[in-house]
């Protein structure tokens, strides 16, 4: 069991660093196995703050995405469902995220719940969920333009 953890940890650590660098266009990241657990180290490119706490909300989000996808790669399923992991990302980080998803989609089928237009553009298929009648959900297949209207409906 100890051996299996070491193998798993080494794999996750490697994947985490790789995905971090893809999402941040550089920078340094690592996972450190210490006595009290596993500590995350992450430094966006050009910055030098080692403390994870000092990172911004969006930066922490991106680190989190690198981490969950690294753990995913340990037992890569044919399907990955992600619910609004991109909520705090600005446009540039959203683009990096969607590029990584498109790259990984050569082996993995993705279902992404999102409000993010950049991420929607990476999808081949959009499922529009609506609640025209309060409390009752319905689903309709839509394209990007309809998605825009769907998200603007109920406005005003």
């Amino acid at each position: 069991a100890r051996r299996r953890f070491d193998v798993a940890f080494a794999r996750i650590r490697q994947e985490f660093t790789a995905k971090f660098r893809l999402l941040f266009d550089g920078g340094e990241a690592d996972l450190v196995h210490q006595e009290n657990g596993v500590r995350i180290e992450a430094v966006p490119p050009g910055k030098n703050t080692r403390a994870l706490s000092l990172l911004s909300g969006g930066e922490k989000s991106l680190v989190a995405i690198a981490l969950v996808l690294a753990i995913f790669e340990l037992n890569p399923a044919p399907l990955c469902v992600m619910d609004e992991v991109d909520a705090a990302l600005d446009e540039s980080n959203s683009l990096n995220f969607s590029r990584l998803i498109v790259e990984m989609s050569r082996q993995v089928q993705f279902v992404l719940v999102t409000h993010n237009k950049v991420v929607m553009e990476a999808a081949e298929l959009l499922h529009g969920v609506t609640m025209r009648e309060p409390g009752v959900s319905r689903v309709v297949g839509i394209n990007l333009q309809q998605a825009d209207e769907l998200l603007q409906q109920q406005s005003g």
Partner: protein, 168 residues
């Protein structure tokens, strides 16, 4: 293997039977706040055997059955079915020969669940057995719920250690 279709009937806000069809690559689920997107994600976890009500934002099991609105009465049962394309034989064992595998769960308001694999009644552990080795499962990293990622990063070193041990 890839997901072909989800059929939801009576699960949470999906009063009317609803079907979502998927492509093998990237799909997005979109819509306004509160319209039911996370409910779709939870439906997938639920049919794969999620047994904790709390993990589905509910207090008790039957809370996931459509509980009515101003205009509609509550329902007495709900069901979710996933249909997978297995023509590449990813799902092995007893179902390796099937090019299509469907998994279904139905719950009545007394909280009792009935599972089915390719229309034959099964137990929850049979469903979990089908997906063993594929990386898919209610608690695997194949389903990342709203807020999980952020929580992983802020939770602290012991928490992360546990998560990795569990995944290993």
């Amino acid at each position: 293997m890839n997901l072909r279709e989800i059929k939801i009937a009576g699960f949470k806000s999906f009063m009317t039977p609803t079907s979502l069809q998927f492509t093998p690559q990237v799909s997005a689920v979109v819509g306004p706040n509160g319209c039911g997107k996370s409910n779709v994600v939870e439906a997938i976890r639920w049919v794969l055997g999620e047994s904790s009500a709390k993990a589905l934002r509910a207090a008790r099991g039957p809370d996931v059955i459509f509980s009515g609105t101003d205009a509609h009465k509550p329902m007495g049962q709900c069901s979710v079915e996933l249909v997978f394309d297995n023509s590449d034989g990813t799902i092995g064992g007893g179902y390796a020969a099937y090019s299509e595998i469907s998994v279904r769960r139905q719950m009545t308001s007394d909280g009792a669940s009935v599972y089915a694999i390719n229309s034959r009644t099964a137990r929850r552990r049979d469903v979990q057995k089908v997906f063993r080795g594929t990386g898919l499962g209610a608690r695997s990293y194949s389903i990342i719920e709203q807020g999980l990622a952020a929580q992983l990063v802020t939770a602290g070193p012991e928490s992360l250690l546990e998560q990795i041990e569990e995944a290993a």
